[in-house]
């Protein structure tokens, strides 16, 4: 079993136990830091303190296991898969395990964020070790009672057995186990003995979801709570000049109209703006009302005048500016191998293409919202945010309050996709609650959500390859993007290391439009560009698309460059699996196939799209997807994530786009912004590589490659190369006869 160095840790310092007053054993544990010396284990379940521990496990005298976790759930299934790891090593029946959302009104959470497909990868070893340690303590307690050596005892499915065949249930020994010393060295299971990991396991919240129980931030309510709607500048670059709230205040449901912005502005001016805090300097008008609808209605009745503080930008200008960047030479070189210039100068042939993608909003189904209550004693924040710790810190700084005064409660999130990494809505509602000193929930309308977002930046790539004697000798990729460029590791993804002369350059244009992480940041379009390019490159070379990749990967094998992020063997593995499962090259007549392969978020994925022509239009019928993500902890959840990623990727590559005119987003709801719907979805056929390597992320990696798989299949079907997303707007201009 592969383990990674940073994941080994001393159990003793990370785990504490106590006997519960109500009976049973309580284990508190920390995933990334040692417990503070002063951290105290509670003896009452209502006193769980998530300031000192990440999570708690209770084993009752009946042998039932409850896991109390405040872990953020954004739809990626970690609330199910992470407890599975504990239960596996503890060795209990999954049916005896209850996952309890940490009760609200607890102390503030010390929690890691959910983002970047990292949750399962980082917690794989610590969670298993926690379960194994608890199991060893129960064995030790039973052995002590029997007066035998612990090594003569075994435990399975909640029952401890000694050499004589006598048995004790976990529940029988919890009281003694709770007072034992935490063992230092525990043995983890051999993956072949797993009984829970690798089994189809349903989402732990499934019953509540299908019966409509309150789970989400939008459902959160406390006695005496009022509702707030926020009027923000309609265009990026504008600030509030003045407003008239007379009509709004006359509405029966409206309680008050206030402005906020001063606290946020002061925070920005203190120079503390971090990557999680996109904040506008403008004042905002806030309608406080008795219900959400009253607040929305009040907001519509506000007459506001805005002034231009910065130049107002349009997509047309961005297109020109980004093209100018690609044509210019203001680049940062991010990786350079060999001599690209020389390779191009000596080439027999050069292929160069430019690929373009628009801004994208996240469009979580649950619009941004958050609850806050600010009193002289404490600040209570509750709602869907992927970065609760950071949000608490910013609110503490903004309102000049002690961090210990702030409690953050996590709710289930109606989608994240990166948007809920940014706590702007938390800072807003904190400022509102501070002003009105009443519990309040800020609710965005869909229009607010879509037009005041933190967007996937518009990006353009220019890729060139040099060919000499039938071989690829050089590869030069340039990125021009709005605001920021691909993160540090990306230039070391495929084909880095596979082509002798290789260079990645980036440049950006600073815009007033807020941009940030969007499901699989940068790679979500980079993979489309590169894998479309490779399809055309194979055609230029007159070689098979699959063979071109296999040949290039041979160059990376044995490469000792530690910067290279992907494994050529694992990429080859997924290519071979997808070729086998997709019937590549043997598709029935009328089915056109496109291939794509990509590594990102520590996971290797290959995909083949099947396209057919119906009434002159290409229709994606099926996508075959081969994934190497190490051990698949929960195949049911993994399949959901993988299929969702593929369809999400097709939807955004084919249909979605947000353009700007004079700083204003040109779409604001689903009547003017297209998301993929059921009638447009292919069947996704997912296959996992059998593996006992530690698991890697699945929330993101199936999305990036699919744009190219589809574009390449459409090329096969129509002879038209698609280089600009959304592809549909370039297919609709002319009816293609296939």
């Amino acid at each position: 079993m592969a383990t990674s160095k940073q994941q080994t840790f001393s159990r003793r310092s990370f785990l504490r136990t106590s006997a519960l007053a109500s009976g049973g054993m309580l284990i508190g544990f920390n995933l990334f830091n040692a417990c503070k010396p002063e951290a105290k284990m509670p003896v009452d379940i209502s006193q769980l303190n998530f300031n000192d521990f990440n999570a708690f496990i209770r084993i009752s005298e009946e042998g039932k296991v409850s896991i109390f976790s405040p872990n953020p759930e954004i739809g990626q299934g970690v609330k199910t898969s992470m407890p599975m790891l504990i239960a596996e090593e503890l060795d209990v029946l999954w049916d005896d395990v209850y996952v309890v959302q940490a009760p609200l009104d607890t102390e503030k959470y010390k929690n890691q964020m959910a983002g970047g497909s990292q949750s399962i990868r980082q917690n794989w070893m610590p969670l298993r070790q926690t379960g194994a340690t608890a199991k060893q303590m129960l064995i030790n307690a039973a052995a002590a009672r029997w007066g035998v050596d612990a090594s003569e005892c075994t435990a399975k499915l909640g029952v401890i057995t000694n050499a004589k065949g006598e048995t004790l249930g976990y529940g029988d020994v919890v009281v003694e186990a709770a007072s034992l010393e935490v063992p230092e060295d525990v043995k983890l299971k051999d993956p072949k003995d797993f009984t829970i990991i690798g089994q189809h396991t349903a989402n732990v919240d499934i019953d509540k979801i299908v019966t409509g129980k309150p789970l989400f931030g939008m459902d959160y309510k406390v006695e005496g709570m009022v509702y707030a709607a926020v009027l923000r500048p309609p265009a990026f670059g504008q600030v509030l000049e003045s407003f008239d709230a007379t009509a709004a205040k006359a509405l029966p449901g409206v309680i008050d109209v206030i402005t906020i912005g001063e606290k946020a502005r002061a925070y920005i001016e203190r120079g503390k703006l971090s990557w999680t805090a996109p904040l506008s300097k403008s004042d905002k008008v806030v309608v406080i009302a008795k219900s959400t609808w009253d607040a929305f209605k009040g907001k519509k009745a506000i007459k506001a005048i805005w002034k231009n503080e910065l130049p107002l930008e349009s997509t047309e200008d961005h297109d020109k500016l980004l093209m100018d960047l690609l044509d210019g030479n203001t680049f940062n070189t991010r990786r350079s191998d060999g001599d690209v210039k020389k390779a191009f100068a000596e080439a027999d042939k050069v292929l160069e293409r430019t690929y373009e993608a628009p801004f994208l909003p996240h469009n979580c189904m649950e619009p941004m919202n958050f609850f806050a209550s600010v009193t002289p004693e404490k600040i209570h924040l509750a709602g869907p945010v992927q970065t609760p710790e950071e949000a608490a810190k910013v609110v503490s700084d903004m309102l000049g309050r002690d961090l210990d005064d702030i409690h953050v409660d996590m709710t289930r999130m109606g989608g994240g996709f990166g948007r809920r990494l940014y706590g702007d809505f938390v800072f807003e509602v904190a400022e509102i609650a501070n002003a009105i000193q009443k519990p309040v929930k800020m609710v965005s309308s869909r229009e607010d959500d879509m037009t005041t977002g933190v967007y996937r930046p518009a990006t353009k790539y220019r890729i060139a390859a040099s060919v000499k004697d039938g071989k690829v000798t050089g590869y030069y990729l340039k990125e021009a993007a709005i605001n920021s460029n691909m993160y540090g590791l990306v230039p070391n993804f495929f084909p880095a290391g596979a082509i002798e002369n290789y260079q990645v350059d980036t440049a950006n244009y600073k815009s007033a439009i807020t941009t940030g992480a969007w499901r699989a940041p940068y790679t979500n379009f980079l993979a489309s560009a590169e894998q479309s390019f490779f399809d055309e490159l194979a055609e230029t070379l007159g070689v098979d698309r699959i063979q071109l990749h296999i040949d290039l990967l041979q160059n990376v094998k044995g490469n000792t460059d530690k910067r290279i992020q992907y494994s050529p063997e694992r990429l080859e593995g997924v290519i071979k699996l997808v070729v086998d499962k997709s019937n590549w090259g043997k598709a029935e007549s009328g089915v056109y196939q496109g291939f794509s392969v990509y590594y990102c978020h520590n996971t290797h994925v290959a995909e083949v799209a099947d396209v057919v022509m119906e009434n002159g239009f290409p229709i994606v019928k099926k996508v075959t997807c081969a994934i190497d993500c190490g051990v698949v902890v929960n195949p049911l959840g993994a399949l959901n994530q993988a299929k969702g990623g593929v369809i999400d990727g097709i939807g955004h590559a084919m249909y979605s786009s947000l353009s700007f005119k004079n700083g204003e987003p040109q779409s604001n709801n689903f009547n003017t912004y297209q998301l993929i719907r059921m009638g447009q979805t292919p069947i996704v056929d997912v296959h996992f590589v059998d593996s006992d390597i530690a698991p890697t992320g699945l929330g993101e990696p199936t999305l990036p490659p699919v744009g190219a798989a589809v574009a390449n299949a459409i090329y096969a079907a129509t002879g038209k190369r698609l280089t600009k997303q959304p592809y549909m707007s370039h297919l609709q201009t002319e009816k293609i006869v296939g």
């Binding site: 739809g75 959400t292 609808w293 469009n363 109606g414 869909r446 009547n671 979805t681 069947i683």
Partner: protein
């Protein structure tokens, strides 16, 4: 503000609200029936789907004043204990990812299957086309509707 008499999940309620308040917000903010979700407010996403006299409707487009005298069913009233064949199918397939859109999906599917218990694949796709799932759990939704149809027919 005027008052309205509503019949929701076979229970009578009297609410005080502005005439033009969408039924969605009466359900959510006045009656704490929060299973009906707000997604777009303009009838485009289907998250707020309810049954009005047995027909799937968008509660964001229906004013509270139009709801008087109607028999309204929300996700909370679809079955007593989450055992409607569509809910059972959703559990069996483990459809939800984030889960936010799913009560709307279930309400659309249950009204559809009531009228067409033996639908074709195309009919299922057409019936569900109005409900957006941003996590794109469409393959699972489609499968769950088929599973529920098999149980019903």
């Amino acid at each position: 503000m005027p008052t309205f008499n509503l019949t929701i999940n076979n229970t009578k309620h009297t609410v005080e609200a502005d005439m033009d308040t969408p039924l969605l917000w009466v359900l959510r903010d006045h009656l704490d029936l929060v299973g009906t979700k707000f997604g777009c407010g303009i009838g485009q996403c289907g998250a707020c789907t309810i049954h009005v006299n047995g027909t799937a409707m968008r509660s964001c487009l229906m004013q509270v004043s139009q709801a008087e005298g109607m028999s309204i069913t929300t996700i909370e009233g679809l079955s007593k204990d989450g055992t409607h064949p569509v809910q059972e199918a959703w559990k069996a397939i483990d459809v939800p990812q984030c889960g936010y859109c799913q009560s709307g999906q279930i309400m659309t599917a249950s009204a559809f299957l009531e009228n067409n218990p033996n639908p074709s694949e195309t009919e299922i796709r057409n019936a569900m086309h109005g409900n957006i799932c941003r996590c794109a759990s469409y393959n699972s939704i489609e499968k769950a509707v088929k599973v529920a149809a098999d149980k019903l027919s």
